[in-house]
């Protein structure tokens, strides 16, 4: 039976005493594992870690940059919009003022023109009237004198008298008008 073999082995070997072949094998096997892990596994894991860190940090900083850019652009646009509004209001105000000014100017101008035309007309009429009166007076005097001389048959040579008669006649004429 096995019992005898097992018993013999049990007495032969103390489990606390290492078997040298196992120590040597254990060392070699573990050193192989260590070598493989050191050479191939750890660098690969570290590479993945580094790349991941870089990717995450890169992504974060890119997002931050984008955010900042967007913020700046938004502020810029808002500023531009406010400027444009302000400008528009200014232009509108200016136009309103200018319009009022133009209307006022035109009105004044028209007024002046009208006054001028009226004045001119009046002056012209007056001048023409004066002229007509003067020429009429001289002509009417001559005609009347000649006519009266012919009718009366007497020569009104006397200058002074003739003149007096004409004046009186005209005065009566004007009064009857």
């Amino acid at each position: 039976m096995n019992t005898a073999v097992v018993l013999a082995a049990e007495e032969a070997h103390n489990p606390l005493l290492p078997v040298w072949s196992e120590v040597i094998l254990g060392s070699i096997v573990f050193l192989i594992v260590l070598f493989a892990v050191w050479k191939f596994v750890v660098p690969s894991f570290e590479k993945a870690y580094a790349e991941r860190t870089a990717a995450i940090e890169g992504g974060l900083s890119a997002a931050e940059t984008k955010q900042a850019e967007a913020d700046a652009k938004l502020a810029e646009l808002e500023r531009q919009l406010a400027d444009a509004r302000h400008e528009a209001a200014r232009i509108r105000e200016e136009a309103r003022e200018q319009g009022a000014q133009i209307v006022a100017d035109m009105r004044a101008q028209a007024q002046a023109e009208a006054t001028r035309i009226v004045e001119h007309g009046k002056a012209q009429i007056e001048a023409e009237r004066q002229q007509a009166v003067t020429s009429l007076r001289a002509e009417v005097g001559t005609l009347a004198t000649g006519l009266a001389g012919r009718i009366v048959g007497e020569s009104l040579d006397d200058e002074a008298r003739q003149s007096r008669v004409v004046e009186r006649f005209l005065a009566e004429l004007e009064a009857s008008n």
Binding site: M1, N2, T3, V5, V6, L7, A9, E10, A12, H13, N14, P15, L16, L17, P18, V19, W20, S21, E22, V23, L25, G26, S27, V29, F30, I32, V33, L34, A36, V37, W38, F40, V41, V42, S44, F45, E46, K47, A48, E51, R52, A55
Partner: protein
């Protein structure tokens, strides 16, 4: 063997498991190759295969396998950084990562059907690992403290203590920090695996012997033994992980302490 043991053997041909249960006959007789040896080699294949496959792509967005590998790697890496400090920990991560996975796989052999033998219940496999941890932390200490004497001073003379008390303290510190550590590292791992496996075979073979004894009362106890064996298996699942973790953690702490500027 006691007379009681002899009596049981005489009655049921049952042999209680003992240290002899760990002396497996060679698989290949002429070369003296045993099952634990094959398991150890297989563990190297598993560890290298798993880590290499999971690390191979090194993708920024990891797949499942890479995620699994990175989880274990990140666990050990975090452990190393916490205990060694961010300046030097990367030098030791390959060693600690290999150590952790190597011990973990070999421990879980104890619970995997058909394999069912934790390699580190053979102290011969534990000794090299403890020695390597010893060399690594002593070496780190010598590097950090400018040679063997500098390290010895760092390791044996706690800062701020002067006078004759040092006569007592220096040998004690030397003993505990330099001599005992590899021994305790080995014994802790070996002892846990050895005892755990012994418990499992005791419950399994004992339960089987009781069930087949033909005695109804013994049979009931046999079923109880199986139930307890299942419970112990779950406990072993935890212990197997914990021992891998503790071995790695202690190695890390020893390195961190050896590198530290002051105590």
């Amino acid at each position: 063997m006691s007379s009681a043991g002899a009596l049981i053997r005489a009655e049921s041909d049952f042999h209680a498991p003992g240290p002899g249960s760990f002396e497996l006959p060679p698989v290949v007789e002429s070369l003296g190759v045993t099952k634990p040896m094959l398991l150890l080699v297989l563990s190297a294949v598993i560890v290298i295969g798993f880590t290499w496959l999971s690390a191979r792509k090194a993708a920024v967005v990891p797949g499942r396998l890479q995620f699994a590998g990175e989880s274990v790697y990140g666990f050990v890496r975090g452990l190393a950084r916490d205990n060694i400090g961010s300046d030097h920990f990367m030098k030791f991560v390959p060693y600690l990562f290999s150590l952790f996975l190597f011990i973990l796989v070999n421990n879980y052999y104890g619970i995997i059907p058909f394999l069912q033998f934790p390699s580190f219940s053979r102290i011969g496999f534990v000794v090299p690992l403890a020695l390597m941890s010893w060399i690594v932390y002593i070496g780190a200490g010598m590097w950090a403290h400018h040679g063997p004497l500098g390290y010895l001073k760092h390791a044996t003379m706690p800062g701020g203590i002067k006078g004759p008390i040092l006569l007592l303290l220096v040998p004690l510190e030397f003993f505990s920090n330099v001599l005992v550590r590899p021994v305790t590292l080995s014994l802790r791992l070996f002892g846990n695996m050895f005892a755990g496996h012994l418990l499992l075979i005791l419950f399994a073979t004992g339960g089987a012997a009781l069930l087949t004894s033909g005695n109804l009362l013994y049979g009931g106890v046999g079923i109880l033994a199986f139930v307890l064996g299942i419970g112990v298996s779950f406990l072993e699942l935890l212990v197997m992980f914990l021992q891998a973790y503790v071995f790695t953690l202690l190695s890390t702490m020893y390195i961190g302490e050896a590198l530290a500027e002051e105590h």
